[in-house]
């Protein structure tokens, strides 16, 4: 019943029309890249500033006098450097896990009795966590080394006027957490944005306009079926999404040195996403009376997703009530899935996201085809 040949001829006519329309091309391909350039530029300034270093100070005293708390003095000194910002981690936390949870690889542990040992002249070791592959870790270990030397010097100058032995030593610990930069996370977010916006707006518009101008009636008088018609639109938006995906990833990598993993796991998201939103757009155009109403309803459905689904910023920075809203937005699962694949290599998470997306897509697609009417009755 469904004919590939008819889908293909409709696809040909539709894609050709799309490519001849500069406006659609701009929004489909160029606009997301501009967004990457703008947001990438705004936030890339951050990375040249101070590096957050998570610090767990296990030397809790007690101290006879505040001057005896050398550990705190050492951390204050580090914090006053231009390169490092010390972030305190409570001693009750599991430090490695804490680093991983905060997507950070830079950390310092100050051991128990650090101050007492230092003052007594017994050697003590700091543990500095770092990812050898990350430039920030190099900066952190360099800075910590520098301050340790300074404290060593200070001690011996005061006591013996001698500089030879070192009291504070440094042990390095390797952490594999890749430090995520804003751009790494921005790319999946904006890919989600473009998966949503192009098919959705376009199908809301087309389906309501075609109804108004009787183009659907016209098509219903040919052997093309409404299922084939929708399939050809979905196909086109998959092609467009993949093109837009390649452009955005390319710009992200070459312009901002983004670290994103490109694996086959991305494909199901790039296929289901456009299918979901093309169908949703179709559904909105179908259930509304005229293009004006369709536009309004389309915006009501689209805008929350555009901003709350983790497109421009991670939902973890949002208040919890907004986070719970995000969890009912279909786009959230696409963006989360893309992040899980591209940034965190968390494939278990990605499979769950994929399952959610697949179910929503199937429901919306079937609903759109069912409710969509070629002719009136």
């Amino acid at each position: 019943m469904v004919s590939g040949k008819r889908i293909f001829s409709d696809f040909k006519v539709f894609s050709r029309g799309y490519l001849r329309n500069k406006f659609g091309l701009f929004f489909g391909l160029i606009f997301p890249v501009i967004l990457i350039l703008i947001f990438g530029a705004i936030f890339s300034g951050n990375s040249s500033g101070t590096i957050n270093v998570y610090t767990q100070n296990q030397d809790t005293g007690p101290f006879a006098a505040p001057q005896m708390d050398v550990a705190s003095q050492f951390l204050n000194a580090l914090n006053s450097s231009t390169t490092i910002k010390v972030i305190t981690v409570d001693v009750s936390e599991n430090f490695s896990k804490y680093l991983a949870d905060h997507s950070s690889s830079d950390g310092i542990i100050i051991p128990e009795n650090f101050s007492a040992n230092y003052l007594a002249g017994h050697p003590v070791n700091l543990t500095v966590y770092g990812n050898p592959a990350s430039s920030s870790s190099g900066i952190v270990s360099g800075t910590v080394n520098g301050y340790a030397n300074y404290f060593n010097l200070n001690y011996f100058q005061r006591k013996y006027n001698d500089t030879t032995p070192a009291i504070i030593g440094i042990t390095s610990a390797t952490v594999n957490t890749q430090q995520t930069k804003y751009i790494d996370f921005l790319i999946p977010g904006l890919i989600g944005f473009s998966i949503l916006v192009s098919p959705m707006f376009s199908l809301v518009n087309i389906s309501s306009e075609y109804k108004k101008t009787k183009l659907f009636k016209q098509l219903s008088l040919t052997p093309l079926t409404k299922m084939e018609w929708l399939a050809s639109k979905v196909l086109w938006y998959i092609v467009l999404t993949i093109a837009s995906f390649l452009l955005m990833v390319g710009v992200g990598i070459f312009a901002f040195g983004a670290h994103v993993a490109l694996t086959v796991w991305l494909i199901p998201f790039l296929v289901l996403g456009p299918m979901l939103f093309a169908s949703l757009g179709m559904l909105v155009g179908t259930v509304t009376k005229n293009p004006e109403t369709a536009g309004v309803i389309g915006n009501i459905v689209t805008f929350p997703m555009m901003f709350l689904a983790g497109t421009f910023f991670p939902i973890s920075i949002m208040p919890t009530y907004l986070q719970s809203i995000a969890h009912v937005l279909p786009l959230f699962y696409i963006v989360e899935g893309l992040n899980n694949v591209m940034v965190y290599a968390n494939y278990m998470g990605a499979i769950i996201d994929l399952a959610v997306v697949a179910v929503i897509t199937a429901v919306i697609f079937v609903l759109a085809v069912r409710l969509f009417k070629w002719r009136e009755d």
Binding site: K5, V13, R20, N21, K217, P223, R375, D377
Partner: protein, 319 residues
Amino acid sequence: MIPIEVSSLKKCYGDLKAVDGISFTVNKGEVFGLLGPNGAGKTTTIEILEGLREKDGGDIKVLGLDPWKNGYELHKKFGVIPQEFTFFEKTTPREAIIYYADLFNVKVDPDEILKEVLLEDSAKVNFDNLSGGQKQKTGLALSLVNTPELLFLDEPTTGLDPNARRAIWDVIRGLKAKGKTIILTTHYLDEAQQLCDRVAIMNHGHIVAMGTSDEIIAQHGSGERLEIHGTEQLAHYIKANTELQVEYDRHRSVISIPLKQKIDALAALAAAEQSKMDWGEIQTRRDSLDDVFVKLVSGRVDEHGEITIENDESKSRQT
């Protein structure tokens, strides 16, 4: 098989009876015209026949089938131009024809169809840049792709300049010569007279007259009249001095005398001459389809579907 059979067709929108029990048939090879003022129910009727709307009552058969139930098979056998035809903006007429040929799975030579509808010159212009006439011709071209036996043309020439209209008329005549059955709607009575074998005049969902245009004129029009350009006094004079019935139209300053026989004209003219008053141009005329149309649709339709013609004081006045 009779291509189109309609009996007691009804369609309501809420309280509005858009089509209120009409019956007609269209024979093979015939061009059948549906006339009527805006909102008469022409498009509703046509779209029900095309299977785009569901009827509320009555019986219809299109090529022997029920168009609502058997639409998918039927669509392969007929061609359609909808009222105010539009198409994908960024598609050219040539591409549109190829697209339709692909959908219908038929082999056609697009250039031949373009030539048939006189559209070769704009074959490669995007639809949104075509003129109104070229757009209509594109619609006509698409309706021909599946070489249909039956065509529905809903106002194929509305809004076109006289040349474009004549071009489309030529195409329609060509189709008729090939033996196609055509049902068309129009607001142009000359078009109906030029193209249609038979017409039906619709008003408020009823058919108020049907037949060839001569039959309709004979049935609903007045007979031959003598018209004399002159004053109201002259009209009174003629009426007083002859046995004739005389009407006077003040707006046009025309004395109008229905002729029971041709010789009546001589008596009227003799009286006019005798009056020594000034009179101008004379002519004899009959009601055209135009006149009958205006009479029929400005009349009211009573509950039996009969029309009652209101006497319009401003138009003609008994003297």
